[in-house]
């Protein structure tokens, strides 16, 4: 126990550095995937047949393969097959490659949630919009979008909380997120070796973070409660 107390300041600092990477990846993924998801969603509902088919196949590939494989492909494929390591070996390159993989992966999941949200809105509203002389995009943005947002909050919160934990997958391309930082003390780092507790302690970070998100999503749901 006394050992943990003396180790705590060093471990805490290292875990914070790791968690910052986790947080950065989380935020960048959301910022990129939420709009990209809408683009993919519109593609998969498009009236242009080839565009629709390509989008559907793309979503199938991304949702049908493990994110871990996608990370490996995005990071290593340019150097292995194209002989051009575009990402470079440094920490920034790894972070960029991880961001790209996460944004694409989550955008595909988001697109399907959006599609569910849009299609759940009765056709009657489109017809009503047409009768009132609104254009299609006017009906979409002014009438349907907010209803869709309300409907997708619960499934989105599900995905977002999954994302918090999925960020740990990026350690496969040696991005030094919090699990990596915790595991380093098992093998030996900064004079501490064979310490098991930091790895398990990382769980507290995830718990607190997903707790905060749960509260925020509950608040958002309440805010949107003014209509049905």
């Amino acid at each position: 126990m006394s050992q943990i107390i003396t180790q705590f300041p060093i471990v805490f600092e290292a875990l914070n550095v790791g968690f910052l990477q986790t947080l950065k990846l989380f935020i960048i993924t959301l910022v990129g995937a939420i709009p990209l998801g809408l683009v993919i969603c519109l593609g998969s509902m498009s009236k242009i047949k080839p565009l629709k088919a390509i989008t559907k196949v793309f979503v199938w590939i991304i949702r049908g393969t493990p994110l871990m494989i996608q990370l490996l492909i995005v990071y290593y494929f340019p150097g292995l097959a194209l002989n051009n390591p575009v990402w470079g070996g440094g920490e920034e390159g790894r972070f960029l490659a991880a961001s790209v993989s996460f944004i694409i992966n989550y955008a595909c999941y988001f697109s399907e949630i959006y599609r569910g949200g849009i299609q759940s809105i009765p056709v009657g509203q489109d017809e009503a919009g047409m009768v009132l002389g609104m254009t299609k995009s006017q009906t979409f943005f002014k009438v349907k979008l907010l209803q869709m947002v309300k409907k997708i909050v619960p499934p989105m919160s599900n995905e977002v909380i999954t994302l918090v934990k999925d960020t740990s997958l990026s350690r496969i391309i040696a991005l030094q997120e919090i699990i990596w930082a915790g595991q380093a003390f098992l093998k030996g780092s900064q004079g501490i070796s064979g310490a098991i507790w930091p790895l398990f302690f990382t769980g507290i970070y995830y718990l607190i973070f997903s707790g905060i998100l749960t509260v925020l999503f509950a608040k958002l749901e309440k805010k949107l409660d003014f209509f049905r």
Binding site: Q3, L72, Y75, Y76, F77, P78, G79, L80, A81, L82, N83, P85, W87, G88, G89, G90, E91, G93, R171, I172, I173, A174, Q176, Q183, A184, F185, L186, K187, G188, S189, Q190, S193, G194, A195, I196, W197
Partner: protein
């Protein structure tokens, strides 16, 4: 359906053409490194070979030697922490230029990369709980234990060669955790690492290590066909002869294990 198949075929052909095009190397590996102006060294946090000092700089026997080698090439050195499982991917994907991290020269390693001459001795040792350590001082006595080993490690190769059943885990530290948790009886890991990880004053005070399963050697790995291998061998020889290698080794307490070049 036919259209779909032909589309898929076209995609496969395009990919294989890309793959063929890449097999021709434009320049030699040393030219590639010199053009980049840096030697990217793939490492893990592994005292006393590669670890961080209080200021966050990479030090250690391997780190210091790698920095000196990069210096001799006239390029900067950059250390990158990698996932040990992916070292060959990292090398071939050119995200690193060499693996220099107390790497045991096994047949698998030698077939996947071009390696330098051995520069340091090591052994695989058996980690068990201290209270039963007395019973397991010989290779014969550990044969009935269940082992945890790092997948693809020298420890796994030794344990498998002895005909012992073992569970491969992700890394050496996980293997030790298996022993501590009682899910495996013993682990086979590097002697240098065992000395740092188990025993008094570590998180595994009730574990210890007993018998050595083999003796083995450390080397540096480069991409297949790299001309940096001979450059490094010359460098190791020169630094052994002028005493800088030994001086570095003494700094990190590994002088007893250094191999004459």
């Amino acid at each position: 359906m036919k259209k779909l198949v032909s589309c898929a075929l076209v995609a496969v052909m395009a990919l294989s053409m890309v793959a063929c095009g890449s097999s021709k190397n434009v320049a030699s590996d040393s030219e590639y490194v010199k053009n980049n102006g840096k030697l990217v060294v793939g490492i893990t946090d592994f005292a006393p070979m590669d670890y961080k000092d209080d200021a966050g700089n990479w030090i250690g026997f391997d780190a210091d030697m790698a920095a000196a080698f990069a210096d001799s090439l006239g390029v900067e050195v950059e250390f990158v922490e990698i996932d040990w499982d992916n070292k060959v991917l990292e090398l071939d994907g050119k995200t690193i230029d060499c693996v220099w991290n107390g790497m045991t020269l096994t047949d698998e390693v030698k077939s996947a990369m071009d390696c330098s001459n051995a520069y340091c001795n090591n052994a695989q040792v058996v980690v068990v709980k201290s209270e039963v350590a007395d019973q397991y001082q010989t290779v014969e006595s550990v044969k009935d234990l269940t082992f945890a080993v790092e997948a693809g490690s020298a420890g796994e190769a030794e344990v498998t060669a002895l005909g012992i059943n073992c569970t491969p885990v992700k890394q050496q530290s996980d293997a030790v955790m298996e022993v501590a948790a009682g899910t495996s009886d013993a682990a086979a890991i590097d002697a240098l690492m065992a000395a740092a990880m188990v025993g008094e004053g570590t998180g595994y005070a009730d574990l210890t290590y007993t018998v050595s399963l083999n003796s083995e050697e450390y080397g540096v790995g480069f991409r297949k066909g790299s001309d940096l291998v001979s450059a490094l061998n010359d460098f190791l020889k020169a630094s052994y002869e002028d005493g800088t290698m030994m001086a570095t080794a003494e700094k990190y307490g590994v002088q007893a294990s250094i191999i004459e070049q």
